[in-house]
Symmetry: D2
């Protein structure tokens, strides 16, 4: 009775097999780590162009300085220095709807609008789809994931780089194209111009690489894992967690009656 | 007042800086994801040879099939399918002393034995250090991290590949050398021959790359993040979590009185 | 500058204050643990009747045997036995939409239907509200949180006990009343009779105690924490995690090509 | 084939059994939540005196204001407001060696010194055991868990209350007695007087209740769960997470070259 199908890997006394290949003989030193991550999720090896865009996305999302997620990881290490996995997990748990969620939410919105049918090939169709997205969001008073940024109010420097790279690598597809159409049409509808942000562009680029939308947040988390390890290593050699705690404790305003 | 020093990154309205470089202009598409992870933790860019060994370590540690950690991640997704970050965090939390800990424990043991002084250059000295490690562990009835494996009882296929790769890349150093010496001397002391396992070899190789021992578990966790994303994506498209739950529930033997 | 208002607690060299009371002199041994949990979230002390229903809810939700969440906690302990906090966190992370979410989802649905206005006092109005909820859900092909149960297909034994207890304690309110109306009206609309389940009843009872709906999942998690500690302690003295891993590993069906 | 023994609970179509009792008929409204938590871990129902001390311990450990753990939970909610379980898990993950660990570490130290033999009944024997503990720690430059406190430098207000309560309830035993002996003997050995802190006293009291030492951290985590729910509910109605992030971000001192 074989109950649990899996295509990822298995091992026996003499060998370890991953994705149908011998780990030691065929993967180690012949496949990069980013490439392996792509392959594990997509169940297919990326082309050179796909890999270039994919790694650029991971680099783009790896870190944003002392974010709530990085601070939570550092404070967790302050209380449990013996458990690096706990500090990392705490940092990743902040990767929810408000921050890391944008990548997936944007990809999901674009994929939903494009549907399952054939990909349109006319800019007018993209503008029309984009107009509907923006108009619907406006009417429902919903935020459009992927546009606007609290810091990069005029333009997110990652966006043009990723779009150029996807174009150059031959993997610019319908999702990025629709995302750019949103960039074109939204000012007339919303009455103000918002930048296409990096997290949203990453979501569009990942969707163009063929990933199902429910896997996109995972890549944002993988990217962030590298950033969090940087913060955890820095916290180990030059801690700031105790100072943050001290500040918050001193600046607390205790109001028992409210 | 600048209270919280950090060397990782920051951003302003027009730019994002990471590790002293412009993220969009200097890092995206010019630095791979594995390379960035090395850089974030080490605070220096790896050489080509270092990077090759580093990525091989991450590939070696990425996945081991349906481990307790992968099963925990899948079961967590069963209960909370909306929270990929929760499933990933649950999987990483199993990366403790018994499984993922070996990489760090082995590196720590080797670094401790080598001390802070100049690196020895004589095989006899390594054999002597190794003999002391094995003898001390034997007397204290302590397990020696990095030797022995529940499945690969004769030899772990990752070990010779990593050692050859480190040698070829010019980054074979004192930690791998001492680890190999343990492989040579332990049979005479323990009365049986155990293989140098892959997780231990990875720890020795990472220590040879200059990483402080307290950062090693983090790399095992980064590697495992890729594997867990593979399991989470597979769980999303062909779930087994409910079947595992069903099996455990049916095979439970309820004994209220013990 | 007082930046962070909080009403929970603070301490100085000689005293610890919690909720405006001296912890050592006024709370320890005079307030039960369940009572304190109520107070911490509601910012007011419960009446005797409220507390009785509240503790019954926590008891009702504490454990359900070897659930995915309990198994995930045990498997996490298998890998990281030194980190009880990691095993507990892993177990809680499965407390998402499919399992523990019902309590909050049901309370939210009921509170939404009742709105902010005065509470109706006529059974006909409740039946009408309930009819609208069920009809809307049916049309949208949405599941109604709180009705139906995979195991207790006819009736959940917790439901009548909680309702009787709330009535007796004088805290049976509009949420439980509307929930019971759903129980009355849904068979005619859906064409089959589903039980009011325990998790949903708990959500209705907690909403009747005046808790904001966004706090309800927290109580389900608190209750489950006690159950998970039971599982973790049992796993420490008579482990089953390794046997579950072994079963899954042996029953894995490796299919590299799919 | 019955593979997984468990004494906690199970359910079938008509009933839910917990700890050998019918959940709906025998436990709900007849057993308090604290009592159930004791029972789940100890596998026996507490006496009235035991329960009183146990609940006082949980109340004593429930909250300490804006600790690193509470701040981490709040920051996690800032990033992922949809996942209360993630925020709670992040807060609990900080319950490691430095903060919540004291309860377990102190209980473990006392239990280790008392050993498995008959309990001594002579103050001189306790003083001798205590002298050995303090002298050994001093020589090994180890911290003695349970004495000293960063805020309560002279005396922790929880300590005398717990000791009086345990005495009154008839559950003052060898662990508390040895802990008090440490309080008597350490000034002469260490050359300064440190208070017996609340977390340590709680560990001694729990050990006197008969709990195995490896379960003690779990109770500290259960207590803290209530406190964290208070912080999470407060964060939902009057958030400070974004303000803390803002402060840290503004006070960051970016030093790319170190």
């Amino acid at each position: 009775m074989s109950e649990y199908p899996t295509s990822i890997g298995h091992s026996d006394a003499d060998s370890i097999t991953l994705l149908g290949h011998d780990l030691a003989g065929e993967l180690m030193s012949q496949v990069g780590f980013g490439e392996l991550a792509f392959w594990l999720v997509a169940q297919r090896r990326p082309s050179v162009g796909e890999l270039r865009v994919f790694e650029a996305v991971l680099v783009a999302l790896a870190d944003h300085g002392l974010t709530p997620s990085a601070i939570a990881a550092r404070l967790t290490l302050t209380g449990a220095p013996e458990s690096v996995q706990g500090a990392l997990a705490a940092g990743l748990l902040g990767g929810g709807s408000r921050f890391l969620g944008t990548t997936e939410d944007c990809g999901r919105m674009l994929a939903g609008a494009l549907g399952a049918g054939p990909v349109p090939d006319d800019d007018a169709v993209y503008d029309e789809l984009a107009t509907r997205i923006v108009t619907d969001a406006r009417e429902a008073r919903r935020v459009i994931p992927g546009i606007g940024h609290p810091v990069h109010k005029v333009g997110d420097p990652r966006t043009p780089v990723l779009i150029a790279l996807a174009t150059e690598a031959g993997v610019y597809g319908a999702h990025l194209r629709l995302f750019e159409a949103i960039g074109r049409v939204h000012p007339a509808i919303l009455g103000r111009t918002l930048p296409l942000n990096g997290a949203g562009t990453c979501g569009a680029a990942l969707a163009d690489l063929g990933f199902p939308v429910e896997t996109l947040r995972g890549f944002a988390l993988l990217a962030r894992t590298a950033g969090l390890l940087g913060h955890i290593a820095e916290e180990q050699r030059r801690p700031i967690g105790a100072a943050i705690y001290d500040h918050v404790d001193r600046a607390a305003d205790y109001r028992p009656d409210s």
